[in-house]
Symmetry: C2
């Protein structure tokens, strides 16, 4: 009979204090992106199982919460495997749903289409501290814009959000998949090895240049190729080789397009930016998902080890699914990490904590109560938060509790005027 | 290979125009309730199957989307029925999760606890026009307040929301389950028949007093009892019998508490209200869910046949699940219906549609692009919406498209100044 009080494994109840921050961050995101002409959209949390298992989700496809078929469609006796039991599941990201949404609705959407999505996604990951099986993702995508104006806007808008949330001195690390490939090709790796090589250099921040070198040799690549590659990487990381220098080294044919791309994005963002951060070319930035085709970028916040969001250009993904080629570029903000960082910093939402509580003695009713409530209505008109609540016997304790909940002003109302 | 473009059966993609209204309504709800001291909370969309099937959800329990067990817990060979395959499901309302949330977290929550929830729920209803299998619910609840100050606040805050959304001339219909019972008891019905009798009088607005009378007789109730009951109901509905009059007729013993309750709520709300509506005592108001114990109320908007939200007092529900008695009262706003009404009315979100678009000729890059983007950043500082976009060959068509998307001002930027 009694309810199970706990949330399901790996998911959590959100208490008022955290919720206040979450709501504020969502509002800042929504308002800031609206200022750049992004429009909010929403897709259902449930997608067909075919779409969820179409190999665009990488390892996330192993973590799907599957939803049982209903009614006549569910036939337990003939079911051979779980695939026969389900026809849909909870989305594990917002990218697959976006691509489906765009192909379903593009006739009614402007070009380019600038979409903002904020929504929950679900992954049946092993539960661990700070990671939950339901969490919010916040994705901004520009579909139908091949020009790097898309990248510039995504970075300008996202960093403006971070600035509004009081983050300072952070970095946007940026690279281009085409440059990554050009450097690897110049060093002598064969194209079929690129992905494996990139997995190794992606670990640079953890294992250092010596670690990268050792791992590449261990994986059996030619020592001359590895030396040539890591020497250039080292110069690029240390800043001894600029983008121009890299282009001169590896040749214009393969490097010109990505270098010009990165130059334009870096200089445009630096001059129009509205937050305290730096654009940093990072020749070792890889980004996990294989669907990226050009620019890739990542937020690095000093207080937080690791990335706090990122994205890039994925020009081939929409075409792969719809047959119609549509250039696309997106940025996913690490919403949960930002909320966590703000909570740990003791961030106070502007305007919170200046509420006023009316304590109304029990038994006050009729006209007197109406007067008090009208007064509260009047005070609220200025935007003030007014709580009306019955006075407890232990008024002192009640006020302490209310102070904890953010009330700083009190007014007591008694049945008879105090003498 | 190709994705399925359509959303899953019965669920929908939300386009930018609707999303703008949804987001605005959510913001009005959130800000207005915050002004009354409500705090936002959230529970996971997934609940354990035991909680979802604990008989608190009425018929909704037949409509649950069930989620398949994972890993070792899923054993297809030994499964006898679908119950063996699932351990959780998508929530079908926000009340069961609220009660679970409160019992899980009450030590960290203030008393009374005033909660605002806005979240999706899922019901595998037969798909039909305007009704979807995923929809948003918006619930406001006060837990731990036995006084009817709770009802008054819920009604004042909810009607303020409706007023801000430009609804006028609507009604809040109100009744008390205790008065319903007192009237039925006075007429001579036995207590075990109350629920069945109430199902009939709930149809009053559709079948009229004669229909109610006929159905009660058809169901085999004593003609004298039915006559006595419907005569009083008729007088009450027509306004010939006031609340005082009903109390004089059926006696103070059973009627005093609910009549005083309704009197206080109606007069307090009328005097402190901040929207254009009327409080209407409706002796035939029943509200479906069996868990209500006292006051019940409903929003009736003239443009919309049927209820647009409602709620009431459910003092026994928390206790039933936790063993600890906690008075409770809630109001659920018909979020989807409100959005539908606003959309049909052609409601324009304040401030929407006054954006400005910069059309930037292709090929503008480097410093010139930086200047244009800096100018956009500058203009955005006043809160203005500035879209920066590459100029298409067909600029006229592009501007028409942008006008449809709400841009009223344009500025063109060319590589070379026009002569």
């Amino acid at each position: 009979m009694a309810l199970n009080k706990k949330p399901v494994t790996g998911m959590k109840d959100i208490l008022p204090e955290e919720m206040e921050i979450r709501e504020y961050v969502q509002r800042v995101i929504s308002e800031t992106y609206a200022g750049f002409g992004f429009t909010r959209i929403e897709t259902p949390c449930v997608e067909t199982i075919e779409n969820l298992t179409s190999k665009s989700g990488g390892d996330n496809e192993k973590l799907i919460f599957r939803i049982l078929k209903r009614g006549e469609k569910l036939n337990l006796e003939t079911a051979q495997s779980q695939d026969d039991l389900v026809d849909s599941g909870l989305r594990y990201d917002l990218t697959v749903p976006l691509v489906r949404y765009y192909s379903n609705n593009s006739a009614n959407l402007p070009t380019p289409f600038k979409a903002l999505q904020m929504g929950n996604v679900w992954r049946a990951d092993r539960p661990q501290r700070g990671r939950y099986r339901q969490f919010m993702q916040c994705d901004i995508d520009i579909l139908g814009e091949a020009d790097n104006l898309a990248e510039i806007e995504l970075i300008l808008a996202t960093t403006k959000v971070l600035g509004k949330l009081d983050f300072k001195g952070f970095e946007i690390r940026i690279n281009d998949r085409r440059l990554l490939k050009a450097m690897a090709g110049w060093a002598g790796f064969s194209e079929s090895d690129y992905d494996a090589v990139f997995i190794t250099i992606d670990k640079m921040d953890k294992i250092g240049i010596d670690g990268v070198k050792a791992e590449l040799l261990e994986n059996g690549y030619d020592a001359g190729v590895v030396d040539k590659y890591t020497a250039l990487l080292e110069k690029a990381v240390s800043g001894d080789a600029t983008l121009q220098g890299i282009m001169e080294t590896i040749g214009e044919e393969s490097a010109k397009a990505p270098v010009e791309n990165l130059d334009t994005i870096i200089s445009s963002v630096e001059s129009a930016k509205e937050a305290d951060f730096k654009m940093v070319f990072d020749p070792t930035l890889v980004r996990g998902m294989s669907y990226y085709t050009g620019t890739i970028f990542e937020i690095a916040i000093p207080e937080f080890g690791g990335s706090c969001g990122g994205g890039g250009r994925y020009d081939e993904m929409v075409g792969k699914f719809t047959g119609q080629s549509v250039p696309a570029c997106g940025f996913s903000i690490g919403f949960e990490r930002i909320v966590l960082l703000l909570t740990e910093k003791g961030f106070k939402v502007p305007g919170s904590g200046d509420g006023k509580a009316y304590l109304i003695e029990k038994g006050i009713t009729g006209e007197r109560l109406s007067e008090i409530l009208s007064k509260a209505s009047e005070e609220r008109k200025s935007g003030k938060k007014i709580l009306t609540v019955r006075m407890n016997k232990n008024k002192k304790f009640q006020k302490e509790q209310l102070e904890k909940a953010g009330y700083t002003e009190f007014e007591d109302f008694y049945k008879e005027a105090l003498k």
